[in-house]
């Protein structure tokens, strides 16, 4: 109801030939409840103003009354497509504070889960982005393969979407006996599928025309806006946390940090497609080398963090996730801040879409890969 007042105000401000259009909060192309107020001159975008908060749950406030074991579960509901990686970042922050040593088996399992999550997330993005641009088939292709990952997750973690598997000190349960075989089958299947994706979309001339040179973000702007993940790397910023500040076993596996220099929508697309292959590479190196041993470090039933401030970061499918815990020495955090990648990436939307045509907005938004619960938190 209050939002409507804002829309009317925006309408009044429009003068002359300006036209104000509201996209969302219930628009299929915003993929979630994001509300954009767009001011147009003819078909050219003058300004895009995001209105947030439709799915704000105040996760940071909730975490202040949850214990260090409990708060991790809430974070699966932030960026639900990177649930494992969110949990991972939080678990790492608690481990850093308690100086816990994670057993080697748990480290490898965590990286395997992270990379499977990244593939699943990029696949959903690929299908949805192509659908935004009018190609319907990729959506079905992407979900066909993503389903295989969901099945693997369901077997080991018991859930298909908001998985909770990582706990401070390791992982909750051991891998399902079928895990290795199923992942190997998936890799075999998926390797051919990426070529199919390339045939279907990457080389498609209509798709290239709609994305090349659209929504250009320069390197300086990407750093200034704090854009990370595929968005930052498509603008030539080296910002892969897995390479810059390696955690778990990322320094022991070989993979490339994908950097494109174009900064346009097509570059952002290429980064994610190429990252799929890198994730497969990481999984291939690890799947036969999961060490035996414990899956969890020994921890007390109630965790108490020492007084101080702790920060950990992880590379989610969308960029750098930071977890900042301020502890007063108790069993609950005094303050938690989640530095979500989508929030910073969204802040660049207005800047890069000004001067584009309204039709290009979907190409820009699609390749920013926004997940709204991650932005609103």
């Amino acid at each position: 109801m209050y939002r409507e007042t804002q829309i009317i105000e925006a309408d009044n401000k429009a003068d002359g030939d300006d036209l104000v259009i509201n996209v969302g909060p219930q628009h299929p192309a915003t993929h979630g409840v994001l509300h954009l107020v767009i001011r147009l001159q003819g078909e050219t975008i003058q300004k895009v103003e995001p209105h947030l908060g439709y799915i704000h749950r105040s996760i940071e406030k909730m975490c202040e009354s949850l214990s260090y074991r409990q708060f991790i579960y809430v974070t699966s509901r932030m960026d639900y497509l990177s649930a494992h990686i969110n949990n991972h970042a939080c678990a790492m922050c608690v481990e850093k504070a308690l100086q816990l040593e994670v057993p080697p088996r748990a480290r490898v399992i965590r990286v395997l889960m992270d990379e499977l999550t990244r593939i699943a997330s990029h696949e959903l993005w690929w299908g949805a982005m192509a659908m935004d641009l009018g190609a319907f088939t990729p959506f079905f292709y992407a979900f066909r393969e993503r389903e295989t990952i969901n099945d693997i997750m369901e077997e080991t973690c018991g859930a298909r979407l908001t998985m909770n598997y990582m706990v401070p000190g390791g992982v909750m349960y051991d891998l399902h006996p079928n895990f290795q075989q199923r992942v190997k089958n998936f890799i075999q299947l998926f390797n051919n599928k990426i070529d199919e994706y390339d045939d279907l979309v990457t080389g498609n001339i209509i798709f290239q025309n709609r994305t090349k040179g659209v929504g250009v973000l320069t390197k300086e702007d990407a750093i200034s806006f704090g854009c990370t993940g595929p968005v930052g790397r498509a603008s030539g910023v080296s910002c892969d946390i897995r390479k810059l500040y390696p955690y778990e076993v990322y320094d022991k596996v070989s993979f490339d940090e994908i950097i494109e220099m174009g900064g346009d929508s097509f570059s952002r697309y290429l980064v994610r497609i190429k990252e799929l292959r890198q994730s497969i590479r990481i999984i291939e190196q690890l799947i036969d080398n999961i060490p035996e041993g414990d899956i969890q470090a020994k921890t007390k039933a109630v965790l108490k963090l020492p007084k101080g401030e702790f920060y950990s970061r992880a590379e989610t499918a969308r960029g750098e996730l930071g977890v900042y815990i301020v502890s007063e020495g108790g069993t609950t955090p005094y303050r938690i801040k989640f530095r979500s990648p989508g929030f910073s990436n969204l802040s660049a939307l207005d800047h890069i879409s000004r001067g584009s045509k309204i039709g290009d907005l979907m190409a820009i938004m699609g390749t920013l890969d926004l997940v709204i619960p991650d932005i609103d938190r």
């Binding site: 209050y2 939002r3 007042t5 804002q6 947030l52 908060g53 704000h56 105040s58 940071e60 406030k61 009354s65 949850l66 850093k96 702007d221 750093i223 200034s224 806006f225 704090g226 990370t228 910023v237 080296s238 910002c239 810059l244 101080g308 401030e309 702790f310 920060y311 750098e320 930071g322 900042y324 301020v326 005094y334 303050r335 801040k337 530095r339 929030f343 910073s344 969204l346 802040s347 660049a348 800047h351 609103d376």
Partner: protein
């Protein structure tokens, strides 16, 4: 750059800075009045802190202050530094840095929304997440909402 080298540089740029090395990164506390000039120095001078990766606030009701926390990295030199600015809890005002780091525009709006810190000369200081007629600032420790808050 090591913490000692960072300290040397920062002392030159801001002689009144107070250091704290207990955490993972070097913590530097500056006065609110000196913040804007210091921010400009951080970005453009020797340290080249071009990437503001986290901007937030912490409420400390016992000592009646709000603490602004800025996390910086330099993408050229790869050193990190945490800047803290103490604000009066009842009259929290600080200069905006959204003209230096553009990501601050959204982050400062979020802090304004949830903590009530007013950012002076901010281009568009409105509530970002909550509705315009929302009363109070939920991340403050004394915020009470008898209807929507469930105490565990």
């Amino acid at each position: 750059m090591t913490n000692n080298e960072l300290k040397d540089h920062i002392t030159q740029g801001q002689p009144s800075a107070v250091f704290d090395e207990t955490g993972e990164w070097l913590n530097v506390q500056v006065e609110a009045g000196e913040w804007k000039a210091f921010a400009n120095w951080l970005r453009h001078d020797a340290l080249q802190m071009d990437y503001l990766f986290c901007l937030t606030c912490i409420d400390w009701p016992q000592t009646k202050h709000l603490m602004m926390v800025y996390h910086f990295t330099s993408t050229t030199f790869r050193h990190n530094v945490v800047i803290k600015v103490k604000l009066d809890r009842n009259n929290a005002e600080i200069e905006t840095v959204s003209d230096i780091w553009r990501t601050a525009e959204f982050h400062e709006r979020e802090v304004y929304d949830l903590f009530g810190v007013r950012f002076l000369h901010h281009p568009d200081l409105r509530r970002l997440i909550l509705t315009d007629d929302f009363e109070g600032h939920p991340l403050k420790k004394d915020f009470e909402d008898p209807v929507n808050m469930i105490k565990l």
